[in-house]
Subunit: 415 residues, 2 copies
């Protein structure tokens, strides 16, 4: 594989036109779409329309006339198509953290009623921290135990005490992807409910919540869904559960009749009860533009085609790095079936500085303490030559020891 | 008072220039700023800058370079100035409903530790429904009782069983305003903690949480703070409480070191622990523009001047209506000290249709079932002549029986 080979792959790439849907800043190789997706070209005009026309001119009337009230369900239905959820079973609301609180509360309530002897929530020690913090909070509140294990310890933790298994489908740090169907089946066989966090999956890898028979899911709007910084998140509950218990964040927008202003809570039918406060209209409009960029792949092969390209990109990058950067270890799975849409490398000492040196060259990845260099590959807007060039930049940073520069070793609090 | 008198009041109004900060659609008298504030002129450009520059060009780097991480505290500090909260004690996050869940959980935890025999949450039956739904949910979860009373029954409900008194400062439906200092003192004398919902207060009436010695507060960004549809909300905890218990929505942004990605939750110092998920950057930027419009009154007399004008507007409208619309009853307090920044009228039958007929004339108020016609007066952008003309439109709607038209009697689900 040389650079000409990469360019030839791009020339033959049926998904190549999708890059035109985005504003990719000139000179940038952006490998952080797993943290914040690139701005879709349609978003600025749409947000401006919402601000200047729908809000500015329509004012309060736009809740009806501009369909603001329908946004959580409408955008939710679009996301549902990407994760194998039925129409009307997924809604956009709040943040991933808040939605995790809802579904974990609901799952624990179901478990408490059906199998009161089960008192543990099982998750991975390397799960994204907010998932663990929410679980820690709810476990303490309900007198349950949060059991954190390594991936290889999951099977053993699915014992007769386990009420809920809560996992992130693609690990934020390692890029390791679970076999959703197999893990869900194993958990169900052990008598546990399963919650999937799709933060690094929705829009990145094929997901079929229905086929897997999953119980609950949440996911993030600002990563592969390109919804913008702090975009609202989504929440899904399997129809077999959604009507049994409402979640504790019983806000007025989840009420069966919010505009009748009744003093007693009566949950809306279906997933609508997982809404809480007033929908964040500006953010929802931006998120819809982002989701539309993923749905634009439908006529070009859809998620299967996106997945094939994602694997080609991550494989290309990982192989080039392994061939040319001997000091770095591959920290994401080599096997395609176990890898999400990212490549992780590790170095015991200089990871942070290497990432900064790459950013100075216009190659944006990120660093996850203590030692992971993380590179996300969004097939919607990345080219094979980007993956090739990124590896070459990395080689040069190491060869020229650019990471030694003092300015690359001053840790900021946020990455 | 005739129309010339109203115009003369406007000519002499020191706050009149503030109207120029807003895009008030031509031909509209907008009396619904208590539901959704008018678009500030600065917002469109600011949101566009966030979308096109900070997100589009800066991408992930903007969390540092554009100060995105600081937005919840920075905008919070601005709102703090409007409600008598100290710098660094108020933060913008989530929705009002979600924030109510946080502070009511915290207040109940404090009460449970300090005074375990107290087992009731007291509120008003006419409180905004989302407040009651959240309280109902938490009361059920904690085995407590939610006691709902009429305003005149509050004193009696503050008995030895009361753990928390949760009130909205200005009632959404009636416009009735509590004496925050007196009610807080009475609740404290009875041994209860007090939570204030400032949804219809912040930016509308003077509030001094510190002077009142209140315990917790939440409030809304999209009403008198002009933050846009579904703008994020705010939350305040008195410094004497904030460090004792963290709230159960223990998301990563409320962690002491979110970017160290530790598996155990350690709450951030101070009010920052009342954050949960990733800040909604677009919405926060829009909210800041809205809050700035209220702070722009600082050099013109600040909240005291805004309050004086608000009272003049509501008094003018109420007096004109009472003089010219005999079929309508005044449903908001006549006494200035008891009235927020709105006027409510009631009619047993035709309220909805009258509001629709007014809207068709370009006078936008709203209807709150079953019988309230609600008119909010935002002194930042409304003129005395608007109040005068609105009353005149109302008189004509009644005199000409415009409310009889069929199209004004088809109830939509949302207002």
């Amino acid at each position: 594989m040389n650079r000409q080979d990469a360019l030839a792959l791009d020339a033959a790439d049926p998904l190549a036109p999708l890059r035109e849907l985005f504003h990719v800043p000139a000179g940038l190789i952006y490998l952080d779409g797993n943290s914040l997706g690139v701005l879709p070209r349609a978003t600025a005009a749409r947000v401006q329309q919402v601000v200047a026309q729908e809000w500015g001119e329509g004012l309060i009337r736009s809740w009806n006339s501009a369909g603001w009230m329908d946004l959580p369900a409408r955008v939710g239905d679009k996301i549902a198509r990407l994760v194998g959820a039925g129409a009307g079973t997924l809604v956009v609301a709040d943040s991933t953290s808040v939605n995790l609180f809802k579904v974990l509360s609901a799952a624990m309530a179901i478990a408490r009623e059906d199998q009161p002897a089960r008192r543990t929530i099982v998750s991975e020690r390397s799960n994204f921290p907010t998932d663990l913090y929410i679980a820690e909070s709810l476990a303490a509140q309900h007198g349950c135990e949060l059991v954190l294990v390594e991936p290889e310890g999951l099977a053993a933790a699915l014992d007769a005490r386990c009420a809920v298994l809560m996992l992130t489908h693609v690990n934020y740090r390692s890029g390791r992807m679970h076999d959703m169907a197999a893990v869900t089946a194993a958990a169900h066989a052990a008598g546990a409910l399963v919650i999937w966090d799709l933060a690094h999956s929705a829009g990145a890898v094929p997901v079929d919540l229905t086929a897997a028979g999953a119980d609950f899911a949440v996911g993030c709007g600002y990563k592969y869904l390109n919804g913008g910084p702090g975009a609202p998140a989504f929440v899904w509950a399997h129809p077999r559960h959604v009507g049994r218990f409402w979640q504790p964040l019983a806000g007025w927008i989840g009420h069966a009749a919010p505009f009748e202003f009744m003093s007693g809570y009566r949950p809306a039918p279906g997933i609508a009860r997982y809404q809480c406060g007033t929908p964040a209209v500006l953010s929802l409009a931006a998120l819809e533009c982002g989701v539309d960029t993923v749905l634009a792949a439908d006529s070009l092969g859809g998620m299967a085609a996106l997945r094939a390209k994602s694997l080609a990109l991550t494989r290309l990058f990982a192989e080039r790095v392994q061939a040319t950067c001997p000091g770095l270890a591959l920290a994401s799975p080599a096997a395609d079936a176990e890898r999400g849409s990212q490549v992780c490398l590790s170095h015991p000492d200089i990871g942070y500085a290497v990432v900064q040196a790459l950013i100075a060259r216009g190659v944006i990845g990120d660093f996850r303490a203590p030692d992971v260099l993380r590179f996300g590959f969004t097939p919607l807007y990345l080219r094979h030559v980007d993956a090739y060039d990124a590896a070459e930049h990395l080689r040069q940073v190491l060869e020229r020891e650019e990471w030694r520069r003092p300015e690359f070793n001053q840790r900021l609090t946020v990455t």
